[in-house]
């Protein structure tokens, strides 16, 4: 510690002139303003007044961020009551399937149906051992790797319900076998889906078409 503390209330210790403080404050404001309009606005809000964001690629960051924010907002409003018509006609006939998946010890997998916005899926799944699960969806045209989570659970052996798609995309479940023994998950689902995808780590995606 130094022996000569500067105390705020003693003006005779001042060393900086007014014009120096004003100049430094002005520079600080200018630098902050430039960083804001050149970098922060494009990257955070997709606003690019001078085109710097487009040239540096920061604009893409902002556009994706705004896109994700919009998807999140759509998903959180999608479940609101009153938006779904009582009868929603569909030109396809209803599909129904019962499918059983084998899970190796500690293995996780995903199974998802393609649903258009507003379409409903009725489902029941049961597992031979308690599993961790997550119901989620990937919207069409969403940035790579984006997923909207609907529901999560640990150590569950069954769940049933209806899922109303808040946007067009693939909707379904991730199940994880946390035990050291093989397990099975059986899913029954009805709806107007046209496709399903099965995802497992280090395996090609298995796609089923429903006619």
């Amino acid at each position: 510690m130094l022996s000569n503390p500067r105390v705020y209330t003693l003006p005779d210790t001042l060393t900086n002139a007014r014009h120096r403080i004003a100049l430094a404050s002005g520079i600080a404001l200018l630098v902050a303003g430039l960083v804001l309009v050149f970098f922060v606005l494009p990257a955070e809000f997709a606003v690019d007044p001078f085109g710097v964001g487009a040239r540096t690629g920061l604009l893409d960051l902002g556009v994706t961020g705004q896109h994700v924010a919009a998807l999140d907002a759509a998903a959180s409003q999608g479940g609101a009551a009153g938006e779904t018509p009582i009868i929603a006609p569909d030109e396809k006939t209803v599909r129904h399937e019962s499918v059983t998946f084998s899970l190796r010890p500690r293995e996780g997998m995903e199974y998802k149906y393609r649903l258009a916005k507003g379409q409903v899926l009725l489902f029941t799944w049961t597992a031979s051992v308690p599993v961790n699960y997550e119901a989620h969806a990937e919207p069409d045209g969403a940035p790579r790797g984006y997923a909207q989570t609907y529901e999560k659970g640990t150590a569950r052996q069954s769940a049933s319900g209806t899922l109303t798609a808040p946007f067009s995309g693939i909707h379904g479940w991730f199940w994880e076998n946390t035990t050291d023994q093989p397990a099975t998950v059986t899913l029954e689902a009805s709806g107007f889906y046209t496709l399903s995808h099965e995802f497992r780590a280090e395996e090609a995606v298995k796609t089923k078409t429903f006619r």
Partner: protein
């Protein structure tokens, strides 16, 4: 009309069309996975809330910049203790009252005020108040008042989550305690750096420029938050 200006107006339209975007994504707040956890809690959870409070403080650049500004010219341990206690008193009061009383404000505007607190403190450290104001506000009172805003910002962000009323008092107290632990950790690190830096001859020479830099960061925080307010809320 050039191609670029067409594109610009498209982007502005996109931003305006997503006006309802979730504020928590933009405001410096609680990160996504922690937010999911917070909303899932139903009852007292002392450990997690303490941890999240400490994490918020240690990773909250606005609070850290303000703390740096506050202790910049405080050489005596007693002064550090007085100023930091006043800041703690201020932010604890509004954090508890805000969450328990359900009082909230627009998070962008609160964060803009927090940015202003950084600018103010840097200006004070540059002797700007002495040179430009006819009388000097008591810097202890100012720290207390800015502490109120920092705590109110925290309370506003916590209330964006649907916190269960079960165990809320215990959880908010735990969060507050965590904030103080995080502040003590961050302050410890800041003081170690400063006590070394003050022994170097460069400290006095660079103090002015450093506060100018801190002020620029404060201006940037204000600009960032006001942009969020204008474009997103």
């Amino acid at each position: 009309m050039t191609q670029r200006s067409t594109r610009r107006s498209m982007i502005v339209a996109l931003v305006l069309s997503t006006g309802a975007a979730d504020a928590t994504l933009v405001a410096h707040g609680v990160s996504g996975k922690d937010a999911v956890f917070l909303q899932g809690i139903d009852g007292a959870a002392v450990g997690p809330f303490m941890y999240l409070g400490a994490k918020h403080m240690v990773t909250g650049y606005d609070h850290l910049l303000f703390l740096c500004g506050v202790i910049f010219f405080l050489y005596r341990a007693k002064d550090v203790l007085v100023y930091v206690s006043l800041f703690t008193l201020g932010h604890s009061a509004t954090l508890l009252l805000g969450v328990l009383g359900g009082i909230k404000a627009n998070p962008y505007l609160i964060d803009a005020v927090i940015g202003f607190s950084v600018v103010y403190k840097a200006f004070e450290n540059m002797e700007g108040l002495h040179r430009f104001l006819p009388y000097q506000p008591d810097s202890r009172l100012v720290v207390l008042v800015f502490g109120l805003f920092h705590g109110f910002g925290l309370a506003t962000k916590l209330q964006e989550f649907q916190l269960s009323p079960k165990g809320l008092v215990v959880n908010i107290l735990s969060f507050n305690l965590g904030v103080e632990i995080g502040q003590a950790l961050a302050l410890g690190a800041i003081l170690i750096v400063f006590s070394y830096w003050r022994t170097r001859p460069g400290f006095v020479r660079h103090a002015f420029a450093t506060n100018g830099f801190v002020m620029a960061c404060g201006f940037l925080l204000i600009g960032y938050q006001l942009s969020g307010y204008v474009l997103l809320s």
